[in-house]
């Protein structure tokens, strides 16, 4: 309660060992969300294990044409990387539409994925929240929830995941690389975050003690036209009401590659598989886009005060799809 220990391991292995040795420990990288939550009392670590200086701060091209961004690469550096800007522009755009320059200078790739919801009930220790305190209830469901989820929520939790970056990564088929006591494994970013279900206290599929070491952008989406668009309550420095990342390749008027993910709608970046399935092999026309996006959003279950998100997400997706489709297809 009153304070915490601080450890700065020199290697991944030391970090994992320190985690195992200290119940209640948390990994700390940029800290832009964790320190915030510690101050609020939402997080009460016994020990912070500072992984911010581990040698995970490089962006490197792999022989297969993919790009490996280390977990402690700062959001501003990832957004400015010429390879990211040129080949996976949706990622750069998503990063730059999030937070402020000051925060992006500190926030890390790994930390961004692990940031927690900004639901006000989650942040207020005096209010019920199943995510913060399982079984205590959900203050938002009958409360103020204009910013909350319309897809995939549960009776226990209607929170949204706040990241912009993760939405772009999901659409771009990126993978997250995890290091843990049982070795290294990879998960698609699109499957990294969970739906709340019965256990909203668990945001992701990361295992206790595991550490994000990198994010991999695959060669398969390199150079595919992509873009990110976000709607928010003010012109900058605000979380998404809704957002969309789209990667779209059209050949001869036919969609031959597509990845779409929504932000601000769910407990995780929402990969629009129904839309993608409908579009693959279909003509890249406004009508086709409209029908395909509707298929996805038909699954939305808006709450009392957030039905607008469905129309907003639809408009955002159609706008970006039509923009990315070659002019001949949209004419």
């Amino acid at each position: 309660m009153n304070g915490f220990g601080y450890l700065r391991p020199g290697t991944l292995q030391e970090a994992a060992e320190a985690y195992a040795a200290h119940p209640g420990a948390r990994y700390l990288a940029g800290g832009t969300n964790l320190v915030d939550l510690v101050k609020l009392g939402v997080e009460q670590p016994t020990v912070l294990i500072d992984v911010g200086r581990l040698p995970l701060d490089t962006i490197e091209e792999l022989p297969d044409g993919s790009l490996r961004a280390g977990a402690t690469v700062r959001n501003s550096d990832l957004a400015a990387d010429p390879r990211v800007r040129d080949r996976w522009p949706a990622l750069s755009q998503a990063l730059l539409s999030g937070a402020s320059a000051q925060l992006r200078n500190v926030a890390t790739t790994g930390g961004n994925l692990l940031q927690r919801t900004r639901c006000p009930y989650f942040q207020d220790l005096d209010k019920p929240c199943n995510k913060r305190e399982p079984g205590s209830g959900c203050g938002a469901r009958d409360g103020v929830h204009r910013d909350h989820a319309v897809l995939g929520h549960s009776a226990r939790c209607i929170a949204t995941h706040p990241s912009d970056m993760a939405v772009a990564l999901a659409a771009l088929d990126a993978q997250v690389e995890l290091y843990g006591p049982e070795g290294t494994r990879r998960l698609p970013v699109a499957d990294f975050h969970r739906l709340p279900g019965e256990h909203p206290e668990r945001d992701t599929w990361i295992r206790p003690g595991e550490l994000i070491t990198a994010v991999l952008l695959p060669a398969a989406t390199a150079g595919v036209p992509s873009a990110y668009r976000k709607a928010r309550d003010r012109a900058s420095y605000a979380f998404a009401l809704a957002s969309v990342a789209v990667a779209l390749r059209v050949a001869d008027g036919i969609v031959d590659q597509v990845g779409i993910a929504f932000g601000g709608l769910a407990h995780r970046p929402w990969r629009a598989r129904h839309t993608e399935l409908a579009l693959l092999g279909a003509p890249a026309t406004p009508d086709a886009f409209e029908g395909a996006v509707a298929l996805e959003l038909a699954h939305a279950e808006p709450l009392r005060d957030n039905a607008y998100k469905v129309s907003l997400a639809r408009n955002l997706a159609l706008d970006v799809l039509n923009r990315l489709a070659p002019a001949t297809a949209t004419a």
């Binding site: 601080y6 700065r8 912070l48 501003s76 040129d86 755009q93 730059l96 000051q102 420095y237």
Partner: protein, 176 residues
């Protein structure tokens, strides 16, 4: 690795001067500056990275000092508003421009605006794009700063007195 006590020793250079302190691990850079070093120019507006009043430069980059645990900054070089002008009597050109443009009223966000503007100029020169930079603009080259760019890049610094247009004007003055 250091010990798991609740306090740690850190050494920082602040405005060119080295300081070695034993800090509570909970102490953030902002409180270290204000409480331990009596450098109260950096302001606490929200304590949660939501207003920018605490902006300082850490190793040359603008950061929210309220969200950085001091213990993590061992060896860092910090510049606060008190250090912008260097050793001389003359203020930094941005400080002068803020005075000329009346780019503040209550003054509470001002140190953060100034440090943020210094960081902004360096970022644009280094080719960092912003949300409003044309995605087709060439990577790795300095980004020209028009008013739209300045506004977007300064959006992490709130000003409740509404001095925004004048702050943008002051930054433009320095660019010219």
């Amino acid at each position: 690795m250091t010990s798991a006590s609740h306090h740690s020793e850190v050494t920082l250079r602040v405005n060119g001067k080295p300081h070695t302190l034993r800090v509570d691990n909970r102490r953030v850079l902002l409180d270290l500056l204000r409480e331990d070093l009596d450098l109260t120019g950096s302001k606490k507006g929200c304590d949660h990275g939501q207003c920018g009043a605490c902006t300082v430069l850490a190793d040359g980059r603008r950061v929210n000092s309220c969200l950085l645990l001091a213990v993590t900054l061992d060896g860092s070089e910090i510049t606060t508003v008190e250090g912008l002008g260097g050793d001389g009597e003359e203020p930094h050109p941005l400080q002068r421009a803020f005075l000329d443009r009346d780019a503040f009223q209550c003054g509470y966000c001002t140190p953060g605006q100034l440090c943020s503007a210094v960081g902004l100029l360096a970022e644009a020169a280094a080719g960092h794009p912003s949300h409003v930079t044309d995605p087709a603009a060439p990577s790795g080259r300095p980004v020209p700063l028009d008013r739209t760019e300045i506004r977007e890049r300064m959006s992490g610094n709130l000003c409740r007195c509404g001095a925004y247009p004048r702050i943008v004007g002051a930054i433009e003055d320095v660019i010219e």
